[in-house]
Amino acid sequence: MTNLEKYTNAFVEAFDVDAETAKTLKYQAIEAWDSVGHMGLTAALESAFDIMMEPEDIIDLSSFEKGKEILSTKYGVEF
């Protein structure tokens, strides 16, 4: 599985959406991505990439695209 697939899967599992919808998501744009859902998403990302995210990065993760940027610049995940 590629890193992009792993990344997308985390959104799919956390929010119970399909992969295409996952790619368009922004924080609080759907009911499932509330603050509690956000914790589930970060846990899924931490598990998928075996990383420990800083609270500041968890707060900054405001969309699917922003999350990719954070993971690649701060945690060395290549997409």
Partner: protein, 244 residues
Amino acid sequence: MEKNVIITGSNRGIGKAILKKFAKEGCNIWACARSPKKEFEDELKEIADKNGVWIEPIYFDLTSSESIKTGFKQIWASKKKIDVLVNNAGIAFIDLFQLTPEQKIRETFEVNVFSVMTLTQLVLKMMTRQHSGAIVNMASIGGIDAYPAHCAYGASKAAVIGFTKALSSEMAQWGIRVNAVAPGATETDMIVSFENKSGGNLLKNCAMKRKAKPEEIANTVYFLSSDEAAFINGQVIRVDGGST
């Protein structure tokens, strides 16, 4: 109960009694302390062998969040379940408020409050995934009652109590319980600073007119973390021999 437990300030005082209690009950322990010492590690090995559990020393200084994170990464890397976190370590600065330097107030809050929040935030990463866990914070009756010379220490422990209650309401949805123990005067090194400033009045309000033994505090911490306390959440349990 066979659980994996993190205990801070486990090298002496109440923390050491907590470590021995959990080991005796069959728990595995990450024994957190400020810095490596051979006698400490020898003693951990002895306690682990005696009780058939593993005890791993983890070193970090609670005044540095970077140090806490580095220490926690060792626990994280083990990929083991974290069942219990005991935020025990603490410092006391006991003097009249007007004789309390700002630096001492900051130091007291750094160790007693901010480090507790930092470590708890890290541990919750695991506990929320597991959908289970118990956290026991060490408060003090000084965070509930009013005592002269307790402004910095008492305020820090009141903050611990506020944190405990708020967090308990937040984490219940993940099956995580958060409680606190509020000891009265307890026979450890720390009590010396209280005794020196109390003018002989240390046990004035204690109905049982004696100090607690560290083991008596440890028993309550253990109980709150155990499944016997499965429906106790957001509480602060005084262990102070009753007040008059």
